[in-house]
Homo-oligomer: 288 residues x 2
């Protein structure tokens, strides 16, 4: 695996691959990689000639007082994991390489960016959409693989790609969980042993909601309240949100029907954790 | 010359050109083409294997009460002109093809979009940046040719391309003028014979400004006032703005030095006309 630091070098590599008629699969990450990321890399590997991953902790998607400075980093371990899982090229640019001058251009998807995580992170998805647009223009992949764990991010990127005619196929890869159900996240490193036990409440609340819907509950607000109550009653956990939204528009839905997403976020100790379950609700059958 | 209406068909043509190792030059227009556009086409023709032009009157860049509905259209004449000047492919999509659903994604360059024309057209450059980003993702040219007549547009697009790492070289082609100095514009069709005579005041005011700077004037506000006074005193002409700005940031400059742009806009009868002169001011020498 090659590790590339500059845009110019990466463009040369991609250009050679293209000239040779090779397809390119891409995984964008902020590093401190875990099994969730490896599922993305292996999905890309199974479908493309060349697999590119990037590691870039993007300052533009962190708000003031968020964990940009503290965000965990371990390049050597990341390189080893990526190589073991079949990545060909790691693009790991500096902040100066990605932002040589203050940004004056922003890509925004306001309708999908103000609810859910956008309420407590008002500039986050603008930062995500802008950097992903940049990275797509640099890597120019055929397909890009994102974790469903960041469900709102997937929806924002899908909409950006559709609206701006970006020629990249977006693939959402299912959430990878620990044995006790906690969704894999680089931010799980922030959890103490005690907080780690309570953190599973996000997953447990989602299971409660799925059970309720499977048993026939069709009121979005009732399902949302079930999840909120369960998370709020967990010691050491502070609810951010618990919502039932349309999977594409991310708008809250009351009559549960079609493609929806159950989405929760909570502060557990120092960590802000998120989790979700995408569901298709049909008249009688629920498929997860 | 082929005329293509759908994105899918255009992508197929571009893909074949790419596979054959051909370079692509692109001219984005709103149609009702004139000699200014033909300079763009010929510039693209002289540097590329394949020349693509687009005609799309983009609703997103017109404000309420502007001339979207009335904007002049003449596809048959445009096709003939493009063919005569060496265009290979005309992309002429419908509004439904470009905007199959309401847009939720916007590309914005706010710092460069609020001054000059942005003051009277507050959503214009968001519409321009967004549609040009879409068109670049559809055509994927090596280079794109824009008229310097829309000087602020050129600056906005250059900044967007740099900030978002869009792999397209931007070429600004000098303004093409009528014999009496009026900048060529599709909107000149709105002028009556009498207004047509007065419309040359935009060019005359810019010449006055260039003369003053050539004679040693180095105060931006003085030069701007000279232009404003000359335009305001012309019968039938209502000044919108007359400014001296940095060529890259578009911020007003007082001490004239380096790359600047003299920019004017005025309402002449039914038409809103713009014109500009890019200049490099050195200690003693002025190069236009």
């Amino acid at each position: 695996m090659q590790t590339i630091k500059t845009i110019a070098e990466l463009r040369t590599i991609i250009q050679s691959a293209r000239t040779a008629g090779k397809s390119v699969g891409y995984v964008a990450t902020m590093g401190f990689l875990h099994e969730g990321h490896m599922h993305l890399v292996r999905a890309a590997r199974s479908e493309h000639d060349v697999v590119v991953a990037s590691i870039f902790v993007n300052p533009l998607q962190f708000g003031p007082g968020e964990d940009y400075e503290d965000y965990p980093r371990d390049l050597a371990k990341d390189q080893a994991l990526l190589e073991q899982n079949g990545c060909d090229v790691l693009f790991a640019p500096s902040v100066e390489e990605m932002y040589p001058q203050p940004m004056a251009t922003f890509v925004e998807v306001p309708e999908l960016s103000t609810g859910l995580c956008g309420r407590s992170r008002p500039t986050h998805f603008r930062g995500v959409a802008t950097v992903v647009c940049k990275l797509f223009n640099i890597v120019q992949p055929d397909a890009a693989y994102f974790g469903q764990k960041d469900g709102q991010q997937v929806a924002v990127i899908r909409r950006m790609v559709a609206d701006l005619n970006i020629p990249v196929r977006i693939v959402a890869v299912p959430i990878v969980r620990e044995d006790d159900g906690l969704a894999r996240s680089s931010r799980n490193i922030y959890l103490t042993d005690e907080h780690r036990l309570h953190a599973t409440v996000l997953h447990r609340a989602l299971e409660t909601a799925v059970d309720a819907i499977s048993s026939g509950e069709r009121s979005g607000s009732t399902v949302a309240r079930l999840m909120a109550e369960q998370i709020s009653s967990e010691p050491g956990v502070k609810l951010d949100y618990a919502e039932v939204v349309n999977a594409t528009s991310l708008e809250p839905v009351e009559d549960l029907q079609g493609d929806i997403m159950l989405a929760v976020a909570a502060y557990v100790g120092k960590a802000r954790l998120i989790d979700n379950v995408p569901l298709t609700v049909e008249s009688a059958v629920v498929s997860v």
